[in-house]
């Protein structure tokens, strides 16, 4: 009996991510959700710009690679072309919360029936560790070498909190993948975000608080500790909006 195998929605390609990076876990969770719901043949993914730019090599579904920040707009086109297809974006913090803020906000406001996977690791990974819209106050990066000074560059953007104000957003949850318990929660949330789309419930976004050991300058295990001690207090985990659960209440 096989008790553990690679999800069907992942290809055999070897991931290019750094050792200890949590993208691998998140890819797996997305693929498991696709498998569980039996939607692989009608799922179309939208890759963004950032470390996950080559996600099209890893998901065994039709994929389009979008310009920086534009994934939700591209996904809108793909979804509107054939609403029967299941469309997801996979975006990082720079992509989704800086250059693509307008696309993020307005796809949520429209209640676009898509699933957004938002990987927040508080840094621009692919370009070598610059300050992100989600970089924590005081956090040192290549472009905040003295630590993020909120007096001059302002505060991090809390996406789930911000989008929760929009009537169009159906489901917003922040999860983390730093331990087994959180990974299990993340799986549940990601699956629900896809399930919502299958049921036509509208815009679902899962923010996954993640590590970037390479650019944080920490060994993988220490990075997980740093995430727990610094990221989660600033970005509390939990459901920020569940329109349909509210209706049930």
């Amino acid at each position: 009996m096989i008790v553990f195998e690679k999800p069907k929605a992942l290809t055999d390609a070897v991931l290019h991510y750094c050792p200890g990076c949590t993208h691998g876990i998140i890819h797996r969770l997305v693929a498991e959700a696709i498998d569980d719901l039996g939607i692989q043949g009608r799922t179309i993914g939208v890759a963004s710009v950032g470390c996950s730019v080559m996600a099209y090599n890893y998901f065994d579904v039709d994929m389009v690679q979008a310009a920086h920040g534009r994934a939700p707009a591209v996904a809108t086109g793909v979804k509107r072309s054939d609403p029967n297809n299941i469309v997801f974006t996979y975006q990082g913090d720079g992509d989704l919360a800086a250059i693509g803020t307008a696309e993020t906000v307005h796809s949520a406001a429209r209640g676009e029936n898509i699933t957004v996977i938002f990987v927040n690791n508080a840094i621009y990974g692919m370009t070598g560790g610059q300050m992100a819209p989600t970089t924590l106050p005081g956090q040192v990066t290549q472009t905040s070498p003295y630590g993020r000074d909120v007096k001059t560059v302002g505060y991090p953007v809390k996406i789930c909190e911000m989008l929760s104000q929009l009537d169009g957003a159906a489901y917003l949850e922040r999860v983390a993948v730093n331990n087994v318990k959180n990974i299990k929660n993340a799986k549940k949330a990601i699956k629900k975000a896809f399930q919502n789309q299958v049921e036509g419930k509208g815009f679902s976004l899962i923010e996954v608080v993640s590590t970037c050991p390479t650019n944080w300058g920490l060994p993988p295990v220490k990075a997980l500790e740093w995430l727990e001690e610094n990221m989660i207090p600033y970005y509390p985990l939990g459901v920020y909006k569940d329109k349909y659960a509210e209706e049930v209440k």
Binding site: T11, Q40, G41, R42, T43, I44, V46, A47, V53, M54, Y56, F59, D60, V61, D62, M63, V64, Q65, A66, A67, R70, A73, V74, A75, T76, G77, V78, K79, R80, S81, D82, N85, A102, E103, V105, H106
Partner: protein, 353 residues
Amino acid sequence: MSHEKVLMKGNEALAEAAIMAGCHHYFGYPITPQTEVAAYMSKRMPKIDGGVFLQAESEIAAINMVIGVASTGKRVMTSSSSPGISLKSEGLSYLAGCDLPALVVNVQRGGPGLGGIQPSQSDYFHATRGAGHGDFHMIVLAPDSVQEMVSLVFHGFDLAEKYRMTTMILSDGTMGQMMEPVSLDMGEIKQYDKPWALTGTKCERKPNIVNSLYLQPEELEKRNFERYEKYKLIEETEPMFEEYKMEDAEVCIAAFGVAARVSQNAIDEARKQGIKVGMIRPITLWPFPKKAFASAAEKVKSFVSVELSMGQMVEDIELSVRCKRPVLLCNRAGGMIPTTQNVLDKIIEASKL
């Protein structure tokens, strides 16, 4: 409304033509002087089975929605005017890099910057040379009547699908706003196979990937060379132009769009005065009808480029005739249109060279 002629505004005729050509997805953003296209689409699309009209949050979002639909293999379009087209430039580059077919309409207004809202042709360089970053071209079609606003939409979609690239209709405020009788019957639409389209694998085939990223320079270079082979073929086979009274012409006017309409009047006037003048009207601005101008250079003694810009197409004429003959410029800019007298004066000047 098949065989009969109907009186329509250019922008609305263009929109209806797109729908009749099988484009059931439109994404746009309000900007003068093209807003009628969006308004017309918002009225018509909800009445069509599967029709989508979506007013995007920005020009950038609109062109990326176009990319989304185009990647699924369906006919799709957006329209805007000059400042909005600047914003779409990133998307135009991605459409080229991903080899996606799409129709983009630019109802030009004067610039640079916010410029004005009156007609212009000053996005010629943008359309034919610099629509975005990287090595690429778009097919650029320039209508000079409401009827051509219709026929070039049909032709534009066909070319876009045939070559998997963007066709731009380079119109202007005059073409968009004026009313003329048109026939919307354009015959059968050719269907192209799209094995590359994202339709979901149905778990029956390998995934299709629409992508413009090639990190290995050898591979990216190869893609660019392949694309330019396609462009070479287009330059050989697809140029379109119309000649007017060129048989015995000694002066050749070059003009497209509204400038061609004004020039035609000026030519008739000049001929009354005994000046042998004709016109080559490029319909495709890219591919530019180089051969037509090169062979005209063997017969005429001078050229006059009539433009609603500071002189942009004039460079293509000089290149086409390899500077063998003088090329004069008759231009107004900033939303001004050359008068018949402006053009006539320049014809007289050119005839004396």
